[in-house]
């Protein structure tokens, strides 16, 4: 009959384990795992923000590891992230493709983005202009800035939501990039 005295303690321990997972402050419940990880990166062919006559397409990047960064001039956090992107681009490790998200579907975003890049500097190898917001839906974007890492076979291997920092870049991106670049095309 003694084991029955232990039941409340067992229940208590169960709750402790549950809460340790559920209330972990490092776990952001608003951050969703991307179903895109491990899947082929959605293709896009959009006009270049800076040269509207030019088409930016990720099909051309097949065979190399690249980063896709979704941003917009309306996005405050993107401005916070910008210096980090500039520093990363100075390392010349991977091309960074920008997708400029025109949230209101207006063309005004293109002019603002152009000014943004002129004033703050341009970390991108090219910036695609997603005026109608279809490409960002295909990529499962819901909050800019979002940054994706694509491997040589064209698969998305990592996604980071919220502004990049050098710490995140060094800890999360660089090891994955090194591994992806080592593995054959």
């Amino acid at each position: 009959m003694m084991w029955k005295f232990l039941l409340p303690f067992a229940a208590f321990l169960g709750l402790v384990v549950l809460f340790a997972f559920g209330l972990n402050p490092k776990r952001d419940i608003h951050e969703l795992p991307s179903p895109l990880i491990g899947k082929p990166a959605p293709e896009f062919a959009l006009t270049d923000v800076l040269e509207p006559a030019r088409i930016v397409s990720n099909a051309a990047l097949k065979g190399q590891v690249y980063v896709v960064n979704v941003w917009g001039t309306w996005c405050v956090e993107c401005r916070v992230e910008h210096p980090t992107l500039l520093a990363i681009s100075q390392q010349h490790i991977v091309p960074i493709i920008g997708i400029d998200w025109s949230i209101d579907h207006g063309t005004g975003e293109r002019d603002k983005a152009t000014r943004w890049l002129e004033q703050l500097g341009n970390p991108y190898s090219s910036v695609a202009f997603d005026q109608d917001g279809r490409t960002i839906i295909n990529w499962g974007v819901y909050a800019a800035p979002e940054t994706y890492l694509v491997d040589r076979s064209g698969r998305v291997i990592y996604k980071f939501i919220s502004p990049l920092t050098m710490e995140v870049w060094n800890q999360e991106f660089l090891p994955r990039i090194a591994a992806a670049q080592r593995s054959g095309a």
Partner: protein, 168 residues
Amino acid sequence: MRPGTVMASWQAVALAVALAAGTCGAAGTSDAGTSDAGTSNAGTGATGAASGGMDANGQLQDAALQTRYERITHALRCLVCQNESIADSNVDLAGDLRRQVREMLIAHESDDAIFKFMTDRYGEFVRFAPPLEPKTLLIWGAPFIMMLLGSFIVVRIARQRAHMPIDE
């Protein structure tokens, strides 16, 4: 302390936990049920009143399509606000997702195809009501499991009490 009272107290604790969990589970599923019902929710306050995004492009010509449109957009979560459906949210992204649903309906896509389009991009979380499939059985079954567990404990306590002398 007699062993009888001690047993009754741990059983009472177990019963309370089972009932509490059962209620939460039931509330969760009924919540999902209402979001699925397709009625326009006027009770969401300022956002609901201000949204009007539902009909920004006018009603769909076909009444049956409009009904499906409303049901589907109410069953899809707006990922920016996360507790609102894309029908109720006036965030730009919700508008883009409504446009996607509308276009797919006009292109004669099935409801399943539309939900699959969304879950392929945004994950299962985009649906308020998880589909009934092996990996979600526990979610859907939890209220019933809790209910069974609770009734079992109630019956056991009742049987025990039946054997107790009325007056000690």
